[in-house]
C-alpha cells in the first residue's frame, strides 16, 4: 500500500531515511525476540525441573507430617502450633531480564520454629518442622520462576507483534511509496522534456516563418 504523501524529491529523501531506520529497528527487535525466546526456554526447563523436585519434596514432607501426627496425635499437634513460633518474612526486589522486570524474593525466617515443649512433642515433629522450612524456600523459587516465564512470554508476544508490524506492514509500505514516488518523478521529468521539445519546436517554426517573410 502506498502511503499518503506528496510525490516530491524531499518526501523521497525523508522516506529513504525512514526505511533505513525501520530496517534497523526491525533487526534490533528481531534480535531481542530471539534472546527472549532463548531465556524463556531456559526458564521453562528450570521450572519443570524444580516443579518435579518440589512435588517429590512435598510428598516426603507430608509423609513425615502424617507420621508425626500419628505419633503425637492430631489434637495435640494442632495445639502445639496454634501459636506459631516462627515468623517468615519476604523481601522482594526486581530483577531485569532483557528489560523485563521480574520479581526476585529472599526469605527471612525469624523466631524459633521449635518453641514447643520437649515432653509434649516428638523428634518426628522436629524433623517435620525442619522439612517444611526447607520446602518454603523451594516454593519461593518455583513461584518466582513461574511468574518470570509468564512475564517473559508476554514480552515475547509483544515483541513479536512489533517485529511483524515492521516486517509485513511498515517496511513494505515505505518501499511501495518510494517506488511510486520515483516513478512519478521520472514520469514528470519525461512530460517536462516533451513539453520543452514541443515549445522549442514551436519557437523554431515561428522563427522560420519570420525569416521567410
Amino acid at each position: 500500500m502506498v502511503l499518503a504523501v506528496n510525490a516530491t524529491r524531499m518526501e523521497l529523501m525523508r522516506l529513504k531515511k525512514r526505511l533505513t531506520l525501520a530496517q534497523r529497528g526491525h533487526k534490533l527487535l528481531k534480535d531481542k525476540q530471539d534472546e527472549l525466546v532463548r531465556n524463556f526456554l531456559e526458564i521453562i526447563e528450570d521450572t519443570k525441573r524444580l516443579r518435579l523436585e518440589v512435588d517429590g519434596e512435598i510428598l516426603e514432607v507430608f509423609q513425615s507430617y502424617s507420621v508425626a501426627e500419628g505419633v503425637v496425635g492430631g489434637a495435640r499437634m494442632e495445639s502445639l502450633f496454634s501459636i506459631p513460633g516462627a515468623q517468615t518474612s519476604l523481601q522482594s526486589r526486581l530483577r531485569s531480564i532483557m528489560n523485563v522486570k521480574v520479581p526476585k524474593f529472599s526469605v527471612e525466617i525469624s523466631g524459633d520454629p521449635f518453641d514447643y515443649g520437649v515432653n509434649t512433642s516428638s523428634v518426628l515433629v522436629d524433623r517435620c518442622v525442619g522439612k517444611f522450612g526447607k520446602l518454603l524456600e523451594s516454593l519461593l523459587k518455583l513461584a518466582e520462576l513461574e511468574k518470570t516465564s509468564i512475564l517473559l512470554a508476554e514480552e515475547i508476544e509483544k515483541t513479536r507483534r512489533r517485529v511483524n508490524a515492521l516486517e509485513y506492514i511498515l517496511i513494505p509500505n515505505i518501499r511501495d511509496t518510494i517506488k511510486y514516488i520515483t516513478m512519478k518523478l521520472a514520469e514528470m521529468e519525461r512530460s517536462n522534456l516533451t513539453r520543452i521539445m514541443k515549445v522549442k519546436d514551436m519557437i523554431e517554426k515561428k522563427a522560420e516563418a519570420a525569416m521567410a517573410k
Partner: protein, 101 residues
C-alpha cells in the same frame, strides 16, 4: 511481606509449623472468599494454594495470574499427591497468550 497458605486443614497446619499463616477451606465459595481476602492483604507476597483447592476456583486464579503481577501464586500438591493431567507452565502460557514455542 509474608506467605499465605490456602488448602485443606493438614496442609495449612503443616505450613503453620514453619511459620506460615493460612486458612483452611472446604468448598469453592469459601476458597474464593479466602483467596479474594488474601489478594486484598498487601502484606502477602506469595500465596501457596493446594492444587485441589485451586481447581475449585480455576477461572478466578487463572484470570489473576495472567493479569496481575502481585502477589505470586504457587500451586502445590496436597498430601494425596499431584493431580493427574496437570498442564505444565508451558502449556499454560501457550493457551493464555497464544504463542507456541
Amino acid at each position: 511481606m509474608k506467605y499465605f497458605a490456602i488448602g485443606d486443614e493438614d496442609t495449612v497446619l503443616g505450613f503453620g509449623m514453619a511459620g506460615v499463616r493460612g486458612r483452611a477451606v472446604r468448598d469453592s465459595q469459601e476458597a474464593e472468599r479466602v483467596f479474594g481476602a488474601a489478594l486484598e492483604d498487601e502484606e502477602i507476597g506469595i500465596i501457596i494454594i493446594t492444587e485441589r483447592i485451586a481447581d475449585m476456583i480455576r477461572p478466578v486464579i487463572e484470570r489473576f495470574v495472567f493479569t496481575e503481577n502481585f502477589p505470586l501464586i504457587v500451586e502445590v500438591p496436597d498430601w494425596r499427591g499431584p493431580v493427574e493431567g496437570r498442564p505444565g507452565i508451558r502449556e499454560l502460557v501457550n493457551s493464555a497468550i497464544g504463542i507456541s514455542l
